[in-house]
């Protein structure tokens, strides 16, 4: 895995040196090995801090919308990030010709909360290969199979490879199994109505409305979010049941046909709410009904942006 980091470094160096891009969005080391941070490289001497491993848990496409369209951006993309970039391009949030996508086939993001749950947070060293994660905790080396530590949404990943990268670092990986991907949602669908609602209540009542899910999501780029809208106020402003349920229903629903299943919302949530269980359901539906997956290319409009007479009508009388 560390050879990827070397390749990435020389690639970024090249992009900056040859003035192909103005800024490269990647990750950098922080004091704690568990928390690498999104970083913006503008010249090559900052690159000593460059980091790339499976702990890099943010979706970097999120930062694209902060830049003017004419900024030439190099960006590290894994499978889901590439799809997010595509989805943003479909929605005209940046221009493809001003982007340079450095693709990395992804072995899955390691969930820092799972590590801490197993070892505590006194982790001083971290290393990984394709199958195993090794951490140094209070002077002791502990090794886990990668599968045990992967984030839930990465366990369900179907497309680990970037679909539209300008350069691909590392060999493409086999596609994931869609039937596994659907298990999470299937499990909930199998419950009866009251159980489903109880589950939904249990998830949403922990929400503190910090909107980390919104801010971490590349597709949530609205200048004014519907919850911030004061006149009329459609969603109760407080942490009452109604306010929180409405937030989660509509947030997920606004992602219909746009969500790329990256799981960034869930990883950002400080209260461990299983946000992807909502968006995954919508993704499944969209796949089934409209044969569409967000971000697989940069032309196809999401289903809600188009319509035709033969659309499925499940509720019309």
């Amino acid at each position: 895995m560390s050879e990827i980091k070397g390749k990435l470094k020389s690639e970024i160096e090249r992009l900056l040196r040859e003035d192909i891009v103005d800024v490269v969005i990647a990750f950098r080391k922080e004091d704690s090995p568990l928390r690498p941070q999104p970083a913006f490289f503008r010249n090559t001497d900052e690159l000593t801090n460059l980091e790339y491993n499976s702990l890099c848990q943010n979706n970097l496409a999120n930062y694209l919308t902060r830049f003017p369209h004419d900024t030439r951006i190099g960006i590290v993309v894994r499978g889901c990030e590439n799809r997010s970039v595509n989805a943003l391009i479909v929605e005209k949030q940046h221009q493809r010709e001003n982007l340079f996508l450095i693709g990395i086939p992804c072995h899955g993001i390691v969930d820092i909360k799972k590590i801490i749950k197993k070892t505590g947070e006194e982790v001083t060293e971290y290393s990984e290969n394709q199958d195993e994660i090794t951490v140094l905790v209070k002077g002791q080396k502990v090794t886990f199979p990668r599968k045990e530590l992967l984030h839930d949404s990465c366990l369900r990943c179907v497309h680990p490879n970037p679909v539209d990268a300008d350069v691909l670092l590392g060999d493409p990986l086999p596609e994931g199994d869609p039937s596994i991907a659907r298990q999470a949602v299937k499990k909930i669908e199998a419950m009866d109505r009251d159980e489903r609602y109880a589950w939904f209540q249990h998830e949403t009542e922990r929400c503190i409305r910090c909107y980390a899910c919104r801010e971490a999501c590349p597709m949530c780029y609205c200048t004014e979010c519907f919850v911030d809208h004061a006149a009329p106020r459609w969603v109760e402003s407080d942490v009452s049941q109604g306010g929180m349920q409405a937030w989660h229903i509509i947030r997920a629903f606004h992602q219909t046909g746009r969500c790329t299943s990256c799981g960034a919302c869930e990883r950002a949530c400080p209260m461990d709410i299983k946000l992807t269980y909502l968006t995954e359901k919508l993704n499944d539906d969209i796949r089934e009904v409209y044969q569409f997956e967000a971000g697989m290319d940069r032309e196809t409009q999401p289903p809600f942006a188009s319509f035709n007479l033969d659309d499925k009508k499940r509720f019309v009388i």
Partner: protein, 146 residues
């Protein structure tokens, strides 16, 4: 249910082709039915539906023109995909999807709105009072729920 179920009717202002029907909807709806008149069903946002549900309505009826007859050419079609998916999603989190109906009315459907509403009211009455997602309530005094 002892009292009649509370129903919200979202009505596209173009969908009732006969004058008596529109007059009935505008002036003679029973008090248990709350009318929300819209320029087109395409104007309905999932938030509107959710807001009605959270406010404790027992059933939601949406009446609109047939797709070919939309006053704005394709407004109701653009809404259809969203509403279809939205209700399916509400069902996923436990809401009774039978509580929402989408009626497409046509030129010859004179008097149909009354029939559909009566039929819907009966169906909703059978389901009983809506509890799921009906969440609007006073906060406990001084937020004592912590």
């Amino acid at each position: 249910m002892e009292t009649r179920p509370k129903i919200v009717l979202f009505q596209c202002q173009w969908c009732l082709f006969s004058e008596p029907d529109q007059h009935w909807v505008d002036h003679e709806l029973p008090p248990s039915i709350h009318l929300v008149k819209l320029p087109c069903t395409g104007r309905i946002n999932p938030l509107h539906i959710l807001n009605a549900i959270q406010g404790g309505t027992d059933g939601i009826m949406i009446s609109g023109c047939r797709p070919e007859k939309c006053h704005y050419k394709e407004g109701n079609l653009s809404a259809l995909r969203q509403h279809d998916e939205f209700l399916n999603f509400l069902d996923y989190i436990g809401y009774e999807k039978e509580r929402v109906r989408f009626a497409w009315l046509d030129l010859q459907d004179r008097g149909r709105i009354q029939r559909e509403l009566a039929d819907f009211e009966m169906a909703v009455a059978k389901l009983g009072k809506a509890k799921i997602l009906a969440t609007r309530a006073h906060a406990p005094i001084g937020g004592e729920h912590v």
